[in-house]
């Protein structure tokens, strides 16, 4: 099964773009002034802890809930006016799988295929089986959904998104409930779909699950988008830290502050601060001139993981 029509060249056109997207529940803004830019052809990792507004954002993208403010453009069409035409080219998994318990996996997909105005009933069977095969569920196709494990349910929801050729896949926590092997399979499926030409927008609260396949990331925290861009840019934007090991941390800290560095901190065995635009050799020379006994000097960039935790607060914090 080919997943996309003669694949559109990867252009700089946005697959998803939002401006000032906001959703308020009462006085609380679950999503606050979010400007997403998801380029076509990207695998966009939409990251953030539980409760940071990822799912609410996705629900607005898919027209399930109405934004309190802001605009959404999807595949070149303005939502919600062009919702019907745009959504036909979007495969979606939203907030976990949901199917009829007493129907088999295949019958559940038949139901969704019957609901698709563009799906050809003559190819329904073969498309359904191809989608089931793609997620490794073909052998369990006739089993009732009730008897599916959480991992199988999750796979069925992914299969549902693959019933028709899609230009954009919106996958909300697709690896939820999957074991490490299943998680790897979903990752490789995402890469494969992307190679076939689909833009993939994938949310996760676990950075490590998607970091390896993403070309772009956006990080949500407490309803706001706190970082976004190509994954290389996002990491290189992380401010490098200069760190000196010394027996006189306070003196070192004074020197670093004197150089105009920010966030200077003295610790028991040294001092560190944000390097900023300063050349590292100037910092070392200044420390030495001030008679700071430096035994080790290091400039390092925080990893995406470090920064993710810094950006989003503690991993298990549920904000709002």
């Amino acid at each position: 099964m080919t997943l996309t029509e003669p694949s559109a060249p990867v252009t700089s056109l946005a697959a998803i773009s939002t401006r000032g997207l906001t959703k308020r529940f009462g006085s609380h803004a679950a999503v606050d002034d979010v400007d997403l830019d998801v380029p076509r052809g990207a695998i966009y990792g939409f990251l953030g802890p539980n409760g940071s507004g990822k799912t609410t954002t996705i629900r607005m993208l898919l027209g399930l809930i109405h934004p309190s403010a802001g605009d959404i453009t999807m595949l070149g069409g303005d939502m919600p006016a062009a919702a019907a035409a745009a959504l036909q080219r979007v495969g979606a998994l939203v907030e976990g799988p949901a199917f009829h318990l007493y129907l088999s996996g295949r019958a559940n997909l038949q139901r969704l295929d019957a609901a698709d105005a563009l799906a050809d009933p003559r190819t329904s069977r073969s498309r359904i089986d191809a989608a089931l095969d793609r997620v490794g569920l073909l052998s369990a196709a006739t089993k009732r959904y009730r008897a599916y494990s959480l991992g199988m349910r999750q796979r069925l929801a992914i299969a549902a998104a693959l019933l028709m050729p899609r230009e954009l896949l919106v996958l909300d926590e697709p690896t939820n409930g999957l074991d490490p092997q299943g998680t790897r399979e979903v990752r490789s499926l995402i890469s494969q779909l992307n190679r076939d030409g689909a833009t993939v927008f994938v949310s996760s609260h676990l950075l490590s699950e998607v970091e390896q396949v993403c070309t772009h990331v956006g990080v949500m925290r407490a309803g706001s988008l706190v970082a976004q861009g190509p994954i290389g840019d996002v990491t290189s934007a992380f401010a490098p830290i200069a760190w000196a090991r010394t027996t006189r941390p306070d003196l070192a800290a004074t020197v670093l502050t004197g150089l105009g560095m920010d966030e200077v901190t003295a610790v028991s065995d040294g001092a560190h601060g944000l390097l900023g635009d300063l050349p590292a050799d100037l910092v070392i020379a200044s420390l030495v001139r001030a008679d700071v006994p430096v035994t080790e000097f290091l400039v390092r960039r925080p990893s995406l993981e470090d920064e993710f935790i810094a950006l989003t607060g503690a991993g298990f914090d549920v904000s709002g």
Binding site: L64, I65, A82, A84, V94, F99, A114, A115, A157
Partner: protein
């Protein structure tokens, strides 16, 4: 965003408006809905209950008539069934329109939107995408079909049970004239359609209630409660000014189809009231559902 941004200057791919659903595609969706309804065990059990009642009525009538009792009195049409099994079907409709048929329709309609919202399948239907208006129209049509199946099931079970117990013959109408069996069956079909129209109005109420909640059982109970309340109000003579506006008030007028000539006065007014309820509650359901945040 600056005007000179090259990303914004690039031509946007035109979005072809292929969102229109052909009648065939709508039919396919409706068929899948009917499969879902008919394939459900609890609905099959419900149909079973609807069909058991005429059988029980037949047995009770047979037992009492064999014992030499006249069978006079009792529910509408039942006494006449001793001479002709045909009347069991009508008697069963008269009995079941009081509670069991409205219960069945409330059950289906309460579940229609709230059930999918409760399961979460609603969000997957909407993202397929199925337009909200299309979905509502499809759900309502499926309820009409479901109501008709329920009414037919009662009539058929009554015909079969009555036919076995009492046989069939020319049908003596309420006005005294006799009717051959085939045209009598046509009158029964018309009665079934008339009752379906009334139940269809109840289904519109149920569909509306179903858009208000994610608890299907709550929607069902509210709809049953409403239809039962209307029956109760309809029996209170002090409220006779209200009676013409009650949905259930003219449901039993299906008996007028068994007169010669057919009395259309009450029936046509009943149909108008049905239509008014359908219009009001479908509009309310549409207004509510198209504006609703689906977050279940």
């Amino acid at each position: 965003m600056s005007v000179a941004d090259p990303q914004q200057m690039a031509p946007t791919a035109p979005l072809q408006l292929s969102g229109k659903r052909t009648p065939a595609a709508f039919g396919r969706l409706l068929l899948s809905e009917m499969r879902l309804i008919v394939g459900r065990r609890r609905n099959q059990a419900g149909i079973g209950v609807l069909m058991v009642i005429p059988v029980i009525m037949t047995i009770a009538l047979k037992a009492s008539s064999d014992g030499g009792e006249s069978g006079e009195g009792g529910p509408l049409f039942l006494a006449a069934a001793i001479n002709n099994g045909y009347f069991v079907a009508l008697a069963a409709l008269g009995i079941e329109i009081g509670l069991f048929l409205p219960l069945a329709v409330s059950w289906l309609s309460g579940d229609s939107i709230a059930g999918e919202a409760n399961l979460g399948t609603l969000r997957y239907l909407l993202t397929v995408p199925v337009g909200r208006t299309t979905l509502l129209a499809m759900k309502y049509l499926s309820l009409l079909i479901g109501a008709f199946i329920g009414v037919l099931a009662v009539a058929l079970a009554g015909l079969v049970a009555g036919g076995i117990a009492f046989g069939f013959g020319p049908v003596t109408l309420l006005s005294g004239t006799q009717l051959a069996f085939a045209p009598a069956l046509l009158r029964l079909l018309l009665a079934a359609l008339y009752l379906t129209a009334g139940l269809g109005a109840l289904a519109a109420i149920g569909l509306f209630v179903s858009t208000l909640t994610e608890q299907p059982l709550g929607a069902t109970i509210a709809t049953v409660a409403l239809s039962t309340l209307m029956w109760i109000l309809d029996t209170i003579p002090q409220l006779d000014w209200l009676h013409p506006w009650l949905l259930v008030d003219r449901w039993l007028a299906f008996a007028d189809l068994l007169r010669d000539p057919v009395l259309l006065d009450t029936i046509s007014r009943g149909l108008l009231v049905d239509l008014a309820y359908v219009a009001v509650f479908l509009a309310a359901a549409w207004a509510r559902f198209t504006a609703k945040d689906v977050s279940g």
